[in-house]
């Protein structure tokens, strides 16, 4: 769905650009495989989130992505066919499932990665990936390491990634589209009494989402409030008692957790659970700060603001 939207924007933008600047840029602007305007042999320098200054010769042709966010991004950039490896968690879009599964994305199996003969490896910027990055670079394989934790991170990192893939103009379009899709939801009028929501992330121990994190930002953008927005850690451990005390209007949980909460006797202490106000979330969309974040924000807006303002509609 998202890809279609991007494709439409690409076509639209290409047409307007072409009319202004002539047909010369056309190939570059719509170009999955087209070379960047500056020519393919010119190196680019990029500073990644490890603070390393790296030199690349675009376009990268064989890419291993060790983070679901960048895997999705590659397909949005229409270079999904260059993906030669992914983690076990990268199951979207459907086409990603056909790409070889290389196991974990944090502390990856470097030998399995090298076996795919990539010329670019995209990793999450965690210290658990530091050794893998050093090992890959020692073997002459380019790496880019990004911390994609917040709403603002993805648009920030699309530029350099698209640059290395040789599709900077498509990158620009995707970044703009992601920003626009989020802003479209953010700019909707805020309800005077926003819905107070509790994110149920993990069962044992009971984990939720703290104020600084992406999923809390999403709630805010959708016009709702995270009841644990005051917690500083990204995913704090909380007690059921405290959840009951904060009395959220609605519980957000993945399909399995939602079922558990509904059936668990202890959870009946929370009024929202007794009233059946549990919103089942597709965690692969809402839980990842990827290209579908606008879709995620819109889903939350519809469920938490529009349906609440219009009680007849009920929760989806």
């Amino acid at each position: 769905m998202f890809l279609d939207r991007v494709r439409r924007i690409v076509t639209l933008r290409t047409a307007s650009l072409a009319s202004v600047l002539g047909a010369g840029l056309l190939a570059a602007a719509c170009g999955g495989d087209a070379p960047p305007p500056r020519g393919p042999d010119i190196a680019v320098l990029i500073i990644d989130d490890f603070g390393d200054t790296l030199r690349f010769t675009p376009p990268a042709q064989r890419v291993v992505s060790l983070n679901p966010v960048t895997t999705e991004l590659l397909f949005a950039l229409e270079v999904g066919d260059r993906l030669v490896g992914r983690t076990s968690w990268d199951l979207f879009p459907e086409a990603a499932k056909a790409v070889p599964d290389l196991g974990a994305g944090m502390g990856p199996n470097v030998e399995a990665v090298m076996g795919q003969r990539p010329d670019l490896v995209l990793l999450y910027a965690s210290e658990s990936n530091r050794a893998a990055v050093q090992q890959l670079r020692a073997a002459g394989i380019a790496t880019l390491t990004y911390r994609t934790d917040k709403v603002a991170d993805l648009p920030r990192v699309i530029g350099p990634i698209a640059e290395v893939l040789g599709v900077p103009s498509v990158g620009q379009l995707v970044a703009d589209s992601v920003r626009a899709s989020v802003d479209a939801v953010r700019d909707l009028p805020r309800p005077s009494e926003p819905v107070r929501a509790f994110w149920h992330i993990w069962d044992a121990p009971l984990l939720t989402i703290g104020g600084g994190s992406y999923m809390s930002e999403l709630l805010d953008i959708a016009g709702a409030v995270n009841v644990f927005a005051d917690a500083e850690q990204p995913s704090p451990q909380v007690s059921l008692e405290e959840v009951a005390r904060r009395n959220p209007d609605v519980i957000l949980a993945g399909p399995n957790n939602a079922r558990k909460i509904r059936e668990h006797p202890l959870w009946q202490t929370v009024p929202a659970v007794r009233a059946g106000r549990i919103l089942v979330i597709d965690t692969t969309i809402v839980g990842r700060p990827g290209v579908r974040m606008g879709e995620a924000a819109r889903f939350l807006r519809r469920a938490l603001v529009d349906s609440f303002a219009n009680p007849g509609a009920g929760l989806p």
Partner: protein, 324 residues
């Protein structure tokens, strides 16, 4: 031990190395492995063999030898066949020291083993003091209990340190708790190997003292051995060994428990022989355990510490039964 035994041990180490360099997540035919070792042939295969598998095997040899010799020295000195750095909390102390250094931003390839060493020394002192206060050295079970408790405390300290460190600035808890050779790179491996070699050399030099000590503290003292000083030195070197292995590969248990028994089963006559035999057998054991860790569930890797625990815990229970 006869020359045949030594030859056998050396052969086992060589076989482990050959298997280790041949197996991995990416299947490479033996002929290609050989060419890659010589630095010719396909660039990716050369990189996999030379940059990933060789340093990993080198680290495995160092870690295995270090843990086994540390265990052998502790077992002889404490006259306790269940003593080993992991169960005595020494490795846990080392890990706490290393994590503390990393979270304070003090870690480099050369300094990390030293930070781990400080943690290990503190842990070993606490364990010995507690055990002595409760029961003297006489009761091996109290010593182990103190070790396990101190180890658990160190694990808790690590969890707290990792929880307070900014996210993703320190390697994950699993790496520290369950051990892995996956991060091996020559630069770090050289330092680990150096510290392990130093620890083993010290213990070999002091091996005669350990022989005397093994007669019992009173007997040793009557033979003119400065018991306190000698014991302290042995703990010091055994801690250094454990610390170096933890800095290089995280917590790996039970190697120090199993391997010295192999040395004794082969008929090691004195401490020096036990230490040397343990070094060889330990090196081979860890390289083989790591081979299992990286091939059983490929492309996923099992934590090395889980593999050694799966082998080690049944062995521990069997030893425990025989002690009664």
């Amino acid at each position: 031990m006869t020359a045949r035994h030594w030859l056998l041990l050396a052969l086992v180490v060589v076989v482990a190395m050959v298997l280790g360099v041949s197996g991995g997540a990416v299947p490479i035919p033996p002929g290609d492995v050989l060419r890659a070792l010589l630095g010719v042939g396909d660039a990716t295969q050369v990189a996999i063999v030379q940059n990933l598998r060789l340093p990993r095997i080198a680290l495995g040899l160092a870690v295995g030898a270090g843990l086994a010799v540390s265990g052998a020295a502790l077992q002889t000195t404490l006259r306790n066949p269940l003593a080993e750095p992991y169960l005595l909390g020494v490795s846990g102390g080392a890990a706490a020291g290393a994590v503390a250094a990393v979270t304070l931003g003090l870690a480099s390839a050369a300094l990390l083993p030293l930070a781990a060493f400080l943690g290990a020394v503190v842990a070993v002192l606490v364990v010995l003091l507690v055990a002595r206060a409760v029961a003297g050295h006489a009761d091996p079970r109290v010593l182990l209990m103190a070790g396990v408790v101190v180890g658990a405390f160190c694990t808790a300290l690590i969890m707290v340190a990792l929880a307070t460190a900014p996210e993703n600035t320190v390697r994950g808890a699993l790496w520290w708790m369950m051990g892995s050779l996956g991060d091996a790179q020559w630069r770090g491996v050289r330092w680990i190997a150096l510290y392990v070699a130093l620890g083993i050399a010290l213990l070999i030099v002091w091996a005669r003292d350990v022989d005397v000590l093994a007669l019992g503290e009173e007997a040793a003292a009557s033979l003119g051995l400065p018991v306190e000083r000698v014991t302290r030195r042995i703990y010091f070197a055994a801690s250094l060994l454990a610390a170096a292995t933890v800095a290089g590969a995280g917590l790996i248990g039970f190697v120090g428990l199993i391997v010295p028994a192999i040395g004794r089963a082969l008929g090691a006559r004195n401490t020096r022989q036990t230490l040397l035999a343990s070094a060889l057998a330990g090196a081979a054991l860890v390289v083989l355990a790591d081979l299992a860790a990286r091939t059983l569930l490929r492309p996923a890797e099992l934590p090395l510490g889980a593999v050694t625990a799966l082998i080690g815990v049944p062995f521990f229970l069997w030893r425990l039964r025989r002690m009664r």
